[in-house]
Subunit: 307 residues, 4 copies
């Protein structure tokens, strides 16, 4: 791990075996055993780190913005193009969001026809100090820029920014909200409301309007698809889809607790009680009547129903 502040790095990796700490990123790249690189430093440091990884043939995951200015970004493109093979993955994480992926799959599937418009919303509760009017575009809308290119599979060809009256909730001088219009190479229109001091929540929404229907994500953790006569959400077909997060969290909670030397979660008393109730339930099914549940006395170890 490399961090100019070595102490901070040491804290971060405390408890992990075999992680060396460096203050110089290039030295870190050259350390033995390095097979891939994750760049999460501030944007201005990315170009040098990317080029160094390219030289060494190391695969790299680089946080966005890849490089803050387009001239430097082009140098990175040219360097990788000269290598003739891809080494870098850029951190546009929306492409990995479950809702965006469903929307992308729907659009690519073609059942809604050609996309004509994307209506996008990007709202933050409040902006950080020193946030400038330009940053609404190059920091916030930057996400919509990549999402629109990816969803549509088209380059953006022109942009216009409208300025409605700024909110009294925005810092003095900040142009907020803004309304941004993008045109694409095949004539689609992308509009983005960006409002970084909306006060009420973090909302990222996208509605794709196509020739044969529309689809909207971001209101709930689901996708609403409107086609001939109906506005529908998909219903999960099995428990692995519905409870994927629960299974992950369950095992992680167990691993974490075990590392701390603790045991948490549902206890054997819970397992026993479930068993007794289920047996009573089966008898109730068989007899048609009400069946009382008869539990053994609860050992003190399990005082209270477990939390």
């Amino acid at each position: 791990m490399a961090d100019p502040q070595g102490e901070r790095a040491k804290e971060a990796v405390a408890g992990l075996d075999g992680v060396a700490v460096h203050t110089d990123p290039v030295a870190a790249l050259e350390a033995p055993g390095v097979s891939a690189v994750l760049i999460a430093s501030p944007g201005p440091a990315h170009e040098e780190a990317l080029l160094a990884a390219f030289e060494r043939g190391l695969p790299v995951l680089c946080e966005k913005p890849m490089v803050p200015d387009s001239t430097g970004a082009l140098r990175v493109v040219e360097a990788e193009a000269r290598l003739g093979r891809r080494l870098a993955q850029i951190g546009f994480m929306r492409r990995y969001d479950a809702e965006y992926r469903r929307l992308k799959a729907l659009l690519d599937g073609g059942s809604l026809g050609r996309p004509l418009m994307l209506h996008c919303t990007h709202r933050n509760v409040s902006s950080p100090p020193d946030f400038t009017s330009a940053m609404l575009i190059n920091s916030s809308v930057a996400h919509e820029i990549d999402a629109a290119r990816w969803l549509l599979g088209q380059e953006l060809t022109a942009v216009t920014v409208l300025r409605p009256a700024s909110s009294a909730g925005a810092p003095e001088g900040l142009i907020d909200p803004q309304f941004v219009l993008f045109e694409t190479e095949r004539g689609a229109l992308v509009d983005v409301e960006v409002f970084v001091n909306c006060g009420f929540g973090y909302q990222v929404r996208c509605e794709a309007v196509c020739e044969a229907g529309s689809a909207r994500i971001g209101d709930e953790h689901t996708m609403l698809v409107t086609r001939r006569g109906s506005a529908a959400e998909e219903v999960a077909q099995d428990y692995l889809v519905r409870f994927a997060d629960a299974y992950d969290r369950e095992v992680q909670a167990w691993v974490d607790a075990t590392r701390r030397g603790e045991v948490t979660g549902p206890s054997v008393w819970d397992g026993y009680a479930a068993s007794v109730v289920a047996e009573a339930g089966v008898r109730a099914l068989e007899t048609g009547g009400r069946v009382a549940v008869d539990l053994a006395p609860r050992p003190d170890l399990y005082a209270g129903v477990s939390r």
Copy 2:
């Protein structure tokens, strides 16, 4: 790893360093370096494995059902109680589902007052072969039994099972759906529709009706809370909540691709294009006009907008 079918186990751990394969679970427990045990064998094998882990003082995560019959389950309780400390976490994974956790936190917070009723739904598209009428209770409703005990912090005291007309979509002779009523030690009522051949989807829902409001989970990946005059969903307050899954998937996709020797996901061309568009956007903001986006020629390596 232990599996009576050693070959299957060998396949499962191929590519993982330092994992020994056993066919006898107790031998596996005694192998050097074992510090915790995950039991995912069929239910009848659980009791022996749990007791063996207890003897060796090993923390254990045991899949549900803990032990298929309540007599064996009580033996496990007594064995752990004799140890005087908890070693086992039972695999009731709903307690780790995001929606259930929000509901639990809301009920425990007390703002809705005392819970009076839980209305639960448990629907599967279709049941596996050989699924019996009793298994609707002891396999399917088993989840609601634990969830109700946990959500309410109360033991269940009686159960009644009603049998509406069975669906034509259920296998001959299966009593499906069933409607199960539980009473609790402090007078709450829990009703469960269990319908394992509903044909249309996997749906798990729970509405808690309390003295000062109700809350429902399971319709969307959100929780709807009804209180004085309003039915509301929580709006996320920051991107870490909204895009937690995207960040996890992004890094996992990178790790997986790197292991396969591939590079996937957003490319440096995407990083470059985003940078050019953002710069055009900032100019559009400053000038108030429409600004064309001027990209360099795209190297062949990045043919097409990346998918």
Copy 3:
């Protein structure tokens, strides 16, 4: 019009031409020009009024409950059956609610298969003074009794009432909420949560669970239908459906204002402004540019944009 309190009746019909006021309902029925009868008196007065209307062959709309006790109700049935033709419509108004009608049409259409269960909710903010535990059944659930019979096209054959712990928000001694289970002649199950001091709102919901899907009304003014893999709402196909209520209210508002000698609503200034803006919009479409809207000075008569 007949009302034992003649003064109250006189007030009610003030301003309507040709309406005679009576204190005796039977005298009112015999008055010249009476061609139909609407009975909105308290329940105990209904039987006599219905029988009197039957004797005179008058069609009648009678508020629910038709007759408070079933013995009297049976006398009314027998009287009309002797006539050999129907004269009475009973005021179960849910059969005329848009959502209930959509649900009924869906069930009758048969696409969801046979209904197996109805899950019903009936919640009031608070109960009137002197509301008794029995009135939760015979006044509140009375609506679900008719709705279930009508939706299913089946008689109810048995009933069970469960008593969860009563809410602290209910008056001392009132058993509230209650959970009522009805069985039907073809084996469907109807469960009703009735909670007349829920505190938060008036909610009437019904979910019909069928062999091939489920449909729920009452959450929004829409119907959610879940079938193979999708949970969908119908999208209106034309403006007459979407804005039916607006057209009715518009004309009614005009008639009401005209009667009061007033003119309200959108003004000719609004008509003019819309016309100017639309013309500017058409020019903007033709030119591709931004077109300013140029309004004539606004006469004082239309100060402010009309409300």
Copy 4:
């Protein structure tokens, strides 16, 4: 009633007492007993009819467009302004829609702060023959023009129309969809997607984005209000709100059936059955057990549960 096609008019008023039919609208205005005028003729006929009504001091409800061109519209404004009092209500019926009224009340109430943007959608399944690109503005968006002026209480000051690629579902040569941007006198921005051959439904939506929250109508027959941390719908507080439409339809159905000499709707058998079931329910409440429902034999007159 006046209609240039007198026969059509005669059919329309058949069965209504005391309605005279005219082919000349001005003659109709001068007929005895005329106290108010409803103009539903094609737009080009409106100006003459409005001015004639003004001369005679008659209140008038005039369908939109008030007058097709703004010059004629201004003449109407000037004529009424000369009278010094309002006589005309223009048929912008959205102002009478329940959802729009809720949104208007919310904005006027001020709790969301100043409105900054309106995002509007206007979609039709398909356009009528001979619909032109200009008519998307002056016939369809005309509704949003009035709605925006009314909701915001501001005049619109400029307009821009963007043309995304037209849908393959639109007739050859029709520019459809269009994206229209309005600016207002106090700096709000109104954007309108108008798409009159969307194929899937009639959708009219409006989201008002304000300084302290946003509110959206048109997705369901409800309004979703997002404020600090929550997205909420209002829950009705009593049955008069929830079932207002049912009561209206119930009485109307009775009046209509009575006029046709028929009796429809819930029968006295339904009233009787409800009474028997309610009595059984009360016994079930009192005894805690299951109580069978015992109906008298059903007279043939009531064969089947009434529909």
